[in-house]
């Protein structure tokens, strides 16, 4: 099997920063690292299995009703993930609130099913799904890393910035509240795209 299927979505053809898919949830769950990790894991699982299932039945789906069929399969997988999270990670599932349900309408899933799973065999489709889920996860983790570090001074809930640095303990440091606010996530992704396009010049848009 072609190695490109796995490697390209991680950075070079990243679903979020290059294909502009799945922005909505990518930004809303990145205040802390932990929900970001759980969200990426959930999306990766749903994406991998939905692509594999759709690819298995791709020749029997009538073209005109394919959107509904795809949505039903994705919704079924999302319900499974949602119920599992509620059972085993209730706190995180509360933090993610409606965004687990919104995986159904995550454009990465529909986009990759339409673009890849409908035209390829089940195994490559599964790999494509996992790789795109991981590519999505990379953006989430990078954004969440900066937001949690500068916004709350912690990483995965552990304090990173020494307590004596803070102003209230006689130091010089204060957490930047701006990083907790939602708009900062957009600006961070904008920066990520800027850096990525400085490296990969061929992605630069024509004027």
């Amino acid at each position: 099997m072609d190695k490109k299927i796995f490697i390209e979505p991680l950075f070079k053809n990243n679903p979020v920063s290059v294909l502009v898919l799945g922005i909505c949830s990518a930004l809303a769950v990145t205040v802390k690292l932990e929900p970001a990790l759980v969200m990426s894991l959930s999306v990766t699982i749903v994406l991998g299995f939905s692509e594999a299932i759709i690819s298995l039945i791709r020749k029997t789906i009538p073209n005109r009703i394919r959107i509904i069929v795809q949505l039903v399969i994705v919704a079924m997988l999302v319900i499974l993930v949602d119920q599992i999270l509620k059972a085993f990670a209730y706190e995180v599932s509360k933090q993610l609130s409606v965004f687990v349900g919104l995986i159904i309408t995550n454009c990465i899933i529909m986009g990759r099913i339409e673009a890849f799973a409908l035209a390829n065999k089940p195994l490559p489709s599964f790999v494509d799904g996992i790789a795109n889920g991981l590519g999505y996860g990379i953006i989430l983790v990078v954004v969440a890393f900066f937001r949690e570090l500068f916004g709350s001074g912690t990483l995965l809930g552990y304090t990173v910035v020494p307590a004596s640095w803070y102003i209230k303990n006689g130091g010089f440091y204060a957490n930047n509240g701006l990083f907790i606010l939602p708009p900062m996530a957009l600006i961070l992704v904008g920066m990520f795209i800027w850096v990525q396009r400085s490296i990969q010049k061929e992605l630069i848009e024509k004027q």
Partner: protein
């Protein structure tokens, strides 16, 4: 009546779908290159949200939530179908989107062509499903509340996309560092708009 008006204003500005929750971002970023298509898509979103929310509210109240089937038979009081809500909501949304697509194709072929793939993609616009899920999570009590919330969030999304389209039309004349051109700058502009919208935060209505 007063609480409906404050819910309406709140769902447009304070709880704006785009700036407070990042919903509907994909089409928001992709269709905001010029004002005309932005207005078309925005109107379609207002309509779909305004119709799907009351329908989903009724489904949630009389079919899905715990004990909702009592009106059929008192014995059904223990049945809780809320785990099915994702599938039911998305099916309602998909069929109403299909309806909107047919209406737009018939009455405004120009708009139909310029919206292209993004019209059927309203079905997977997270702002729409998000509206229904927020309605369920926040447990709005009356049909009027659900409808007003739907129309308000739709209008908020409409205003956001038209504003961004206007800014991007102006930006296309400015000199931007090459790697930032297009998508990257759009993200940063949306972030700055979001910070401006933050000024509505904490307003109690």
């Amino acid at each position: 009546m007063q609480d409906l008006i404050s819910l309406f204003v709140k769902s447009i500005f304070v709880d704006n779908m785009v700036f407070a929750y990042f919903l509907g971002m994909c089409s928001y970023l992709a269709v905001s290159k010029n004002i005309k298509t932005a207005i078309g898509l925005g109107t379609a979103v207002i309509f779909v949200l305004g119709v799907t929310l009351p329908v989903n509210y009724l489904l949630n109240k009389y079919v899905l939530s715990e004990g909702a089937l009592v009106w059929l038979n008192p014995d059904y009081a223990g049945i809780d179908l809320s785990f099915l809500s994702f599938i039911i909501f998305i099916a309602v949304i998909a069929s109403i989107t299909q309806l909107v697509e047919m209406v737009v194709e018939k009455f405004s072929p120009g708009l139909y062509n310029s919206l292209g793939i993004f019209l059927p993609l309203i079905a997977v616009n997270c702002a729409i499903l998000g509206g229904s899920l927020f309605m369920q999570e926040r447990a709005y009590e009356t049909l009027a509340q659900a409808t007003v919330f739907g129309l308000g969030s739709g209008l908020g999304w409409f205003l956001a996309i038209v504003a961004l389209a206007a800014i991007r039309e102006k930006l296309s004349y400015s000199n931007v560092p090459a790697p930032l051109r297009g998508l990257g700058l759009t993200f940063i502009v949306v972030g700055l708009m979001g910070i401006a919208f933050m000024s509505f935060m904490g307003i109690k209505l």
